[in-house]
Amino acid sequence: MSLVLVLAGIALAASSGLAALVRRRQPQLAQRSACAVLLAGAVLGIAGALLALGQGRAAQIHAGWSAPFASLELRLDGLSALFLLPIFGIPAAGAVYGCSYYPQASHGNHALRLQGFYGLITAAMALLAVAANAMLFLAAWEVMALSGFFLVLTEHEREETRDAAFVYLAAAHIGTLALFALFALLGSRSGSFDFERIARAGLAPGAGIFALMLAGFGLKAGLMPLHFWLPGAHSAAPSHVSAVLSGVLLKAGIYGILRVSGLFPVLPAWWGFAVLAVGAVSAVLGVAFALAQHDLKRLLAYHSVENVGIIAMGVGMAFIGRATGEPALVLLGFGGGVLHVLNHALFKALLFLGAGSVDRACGTREIDLLGGVARVMPITAALFLFGAVAISGLPPLNGFVSEWLVYLASLRALFSTVPLVAWSSLSAPVLALVGGLAAACFAKVVGIVFLGLPRSGRRPAGEASRGMLAPMAALALACAFIGLFPAALLPALKHAAAEWAHVSPSLLEEPARRAASSASRITVAAAILLGLVYGLAAIRRRRAPVTTQSQTWGCGFARPTARMQYTGSSFARMLTLRFGWAFSPRARVELPAGPFPARASYHSQVPDTVLAAALVPASRAAALVASRARRVQHRVQGQALLVGMTLVALLAWRFLFW
């Protein structure tokens, strides 16, 4: 039943673009009907997922499919159901937002194409989550990746969009090829491509499989240093697309890692340490790069790298837990990681939608040109701030809860009796560093973009429309719910973790109970915090002192202007200096000259190090080598010579060496 609901949701989502196509003559109606179909699909899908979570057992459908090795093997277990929540939820919110943000009436075919692929990517991701056959998984994977490509390419007239889309496509395809190899290995060793049979074969987890898994899924998840496609793609796409890409698409990589690692009866501990290390590097460098960005959406994109790193740290702890047979680590690591998947989807989507509203209203995403947006768009600002608090992992919102679970996992590791495992608790200070940096970064974003005064002529005309605010508010509500009632999701997480780790749920009962009791105290603390804020505000309002309006204290400056405000770059400078070793900043400086300098300027940007310092030069070099290599054999004689030499070589090989 639950799976049938999900399948219905998939079908509706996939066909939502058609709804717009059919009625393309009436753009507004067309878009709304597409949105309605997608929403209906999302409701069904989420209902199915919740039903599955409630039932606590996996639903299965099997059907034949006559592509090689493939069968229509579908399975909805706890892990799938948990991932289905953001997979259906975020696109639904994005589609509603898109009706106002990207109206078909003014964007025409672009919007039409966007809607088609928007539904398709939703369907593909959902199919991915329930696929239980490697070929079906790969097919869904690639449809998802290609839809993502077309979504990024939406505004294809701009060159940077095309470049970003190309980098995305190349990265996605290389990832897919790694998965080819991964599943081919699994399939040939177990003799089947059905996940169930692979799991039953009890394969040994080898280094090759791990490397392929990390490369293939890591490319999609955006783990450092495989994140290089992500900032460009996410900033080039329309914002409700970025919300889906960043909030959900990346998580497909995490899902893949979990799904594939769940196929092995035992995991070696070094897998866990490796994932933990990669996650830690991603988290720290992701937030460091984010700090250095000027472009609002690029900044948010780098935060995705950070958050995926946090998720990977949780997953790594869970791996270690499985390897050493410690149920607490499995539960807390898995629970923290998967809950953070959901949380990150919620608040990152919220933030991207907010960024989209700002971009639409001000016509720029350049942080240092913005300012004072909150005065004109108070609700958007408040919702964005909400998301910022959540993503910084600050209580009482959801970001804190999942990070806390990961913290708890690394603290539990302290007391492990297995050698070396205690060292993994060094991830706790790493998380603290990441949390501090993220808070600094979002203080910068909210402070510079929304507060203060406009730094340039780009200022919004008015508040975003209700169609744009409503989905953001819905996302914010979900963030608040998880933040306030973290214990609510623990039973589902426990079930999924037990299935994934091939242990009986009763083994996880004890740590789950402990975590739940702690989580319920978080609820208490959050209630106290909110009560205190409310109480203090009431007292403070009762005080109602004489209020005077005046200018900001200028510290003695006679005529302060809005351009003298601190900018985003200056705000982050002290921190980015610390990470100078990882950046390759490019600055364009025009120094003031002469006794009466006419103008001076300073423009700096921090391109992605992996892309700018490694991949682009490498591909240039490859192109150069290739063009050198191409200079040979244009003559007919040369071509004939090749034929002759091949013959001689073959004969020599056969008769002399072979």
């Binding site: 499919w65 006559s66 592509a67 090689p68 090795f69 493939a70 070929m135 790969l138 097919a139 994977w141 690639e142 449809v143 290609l146 390419l153 294809h156 007239e157 095309r162 889309a165 190309f166 496509l169 190349a170 395809h173 290389i174 897919t176 090829l177 790694a178 080819f180 190899a181 081919a184 290995l185 399939g187 040939s188 090759g208 591909s619 490859a622 192109a623 080598v625 290739a626 063009s627 290599a629 191409r630 054999q633 007919v636 040369g638 071509q639 004939a640 090749l642 034929v643 030499m645 091949t646 013959l647 073959l650 004969l651 090989w653 056969r654 008769f655 072979w658």
Partner: protein
């Protein structure tokens, strides 16, 4: 059986004699459709071998002949639109040559006699060389000259290789025959040394026809300069037939106990082709030449699969079908784009998806399909070949295969993404070259087939591929 060979010939004679240029394309259409119908009847009726068993619809033929027939039929529809726009050129030789090509291809596909195969392959070279020169430009002439010279050199060596095999069969007690079934039956009676040498010569000869690197050098020029229709037929039809002929030679080698060397050589050349294609595809500014290198790559994949044996060979059969259809899509779409912009350089062509919505999108879709993106057919065949390699424990060659695939994807992607998206305003435009039913319909039809093969591979086809692979031997 003879009907499908002779009917195109008859139409070709008609076309060559027809004084009315406007009427000739119809002969092409009629020839293509008649052939298609004939092949359909052949599949259904499964007649007994013709010409003393020299022509037979064996599993290998069943794999390629319908595909070639479909491809040709699609091209003949396309030609209606294409030739209508190319009134400036005399189409007598074009139409006649294509029909002769069809007839020769049919013979190669069904031939059970290595000598007859050779003659027919020779005929495909001769009948297509003048067609490459259809544009009558200096570069087209150069391309035709290179094609003719290099392919003829290959074909001469192939004849020598065929002689070697014949000699091998002439040992005491040998069959003294070049009929495939005789050779296979004789098996170890064949003189091994001569089979060995014969394989080397035939690999070079038919490898040239297939365009395996380093024997591929005629391809970029020929595909770059020839009309899209010819590119489609060469890269989808003729090269596949080179593959089939080579597979039949491997069959003889297996029977003679010489398979190990043959397979190693095929794997080596296959990987070399893919590697070379990946070098040449990076930074390619001419999108038709890019397709030529893609063809080199896919011939490499076919040779690779054939060389690996087992599952991979069966998948190579599947891939031959996928490659033929997808190359049809790509060349026809590229031809449309080329004509509309009057250029095939990425510096001048952009926004094809907007100016030619169908052709532009098909070019992109074809690119994604040929590079192995699900849910298109080539994904399954390319994956299965990899699976065969890894399943056989050949991790190193599997890794190389993957690396080359990814480099080629990136290289082709860079070129395709310069051509398809973007704003076409300001790019050169040739009047009256927008998508029409005749020029956009056939590639669309082929694309649908490629997609269908990915979504659903009929059981019968799977059995057929396995049977064809079993023929080749292990």
């Amino acid at each position: 059986m003879l009907f499908v060979v002779l009917a195109p010939l008859a139409f070709s004679v008609l076309a060559l004699l027809d004084p009315l240029a406007a009427r000739r394309p119809r002969a092409l259409l009629a020839g293509g459709l008649t052939h298609l119908a004939g092949v359909g009847w052949l599949i259904v009726a499964a007649p007994s071998p013709a010409l003393h068993g020299w022509l037979e619809l064996d599993p290998l033929a069943k794999v390629v002949l319908p595909v070639i027939s479909l491809l040709f039929a699609a091209c003949s529809v396309y030609a209606q639109g294409y030739l209508a726009r190319r009134r400036d050129r005399d189409n007598r030789l074009f139409v006649g040559g294509l029909l002769i090509l069809l007839s020769a291809m049919t013979v190669v596909a069904t031939s059970q006699h290595l000598g007859l195969s050779w003659v027919a392959i020779e005929l495909t070279t001769l009948s297509t060389a003048p067609l490459i020169y259809f544009d009558k430009s200096a570069r087209a002439l150069e391309a035709a000259w290179k094609y003719l010279l290099v392919c003829s050199l290959g074909i001469a060596l192939a004849l020598l290789g065929t002689f070697f095999l014949a000699l091998a069969s002439a040992s005491t007690g040998g069959p003294h025959s070049l009929l495939l079934s005789d050779l296979v039956r004789a098996g170890h009676m064949l003189s091994q040394a001569w089979v060995r040498a014969g394989f080397a010569f035939l690999l070079v000869g038919y490898g040239t026809k297939m365009g395996l690197a380093p024997l591929h050098s005629w391809k970029p020029d020929a595909y770059g300069e020839a009309p899209g229709i010819l590119g489609a037929l060469l890269s989808g039809g003729v090269t596949s037939l080179g593959f089939v002929s080579l597979a039949r030679v491997v069959q003889v080698c297996s029977a003679a106990g010489e398979a190990a060397f043959a397979r190693d050589a095929l794997v080596a050349m296959g990987l070399f082709s893919m590697g070379l294609a990946s070098v040449y595809v990076i930074g390619q500014r001419d999108f038709k030449r890019m397709l030529a290198y893609s063809s080199v790559e896919h011939m490499g994949i076919l040779a690779f699969g054939l060389g690996l044996g087992g599952v991979a060979t069966s998948s190579a059969m599947f891939h031959a079908v996928n490659n033929a259809l997808t190359k049809g899509v790509l060349f026809l779409a590229a031809g449309n784009i080329h004509r509309s912009y009057g250029s095939k350089l990425v510096d001048e062509v952009r926004g094809a998806a907007r100016r030619l919505p169908v052709s532009g999108s098909l070019f992109l879709a074809g690119f994604l399909a040929i590079t192995g993106s699900p849910p298109f057919g080539p994904f399954f065949s390319e994956f299965s070949i990899l699976n065969g390699a890894l399943g056989a424990g050949r991790y190193a060659v599997g890794a190389l295969y993957l690396i080359f695939l990814s480099v080629i994807f990136v290289g082709m992607g860079a070129t395709v993404l310069k051509v398809v998206p973007g704003d076409p305003a300001g790019a050169p435009e040739v009047a009256n070259t927008r998508d029409s039913l005749a020029t956009a319909g056939p590639p669309l039809f082929l694309m649908a087939l490629v997609l269908a093969l990915g979504l659903h591979l009929p059981r019968g086809l799977k059995v057929l591929f396995d049977a064809a692979a079993a023929r080749v031997g292990t």
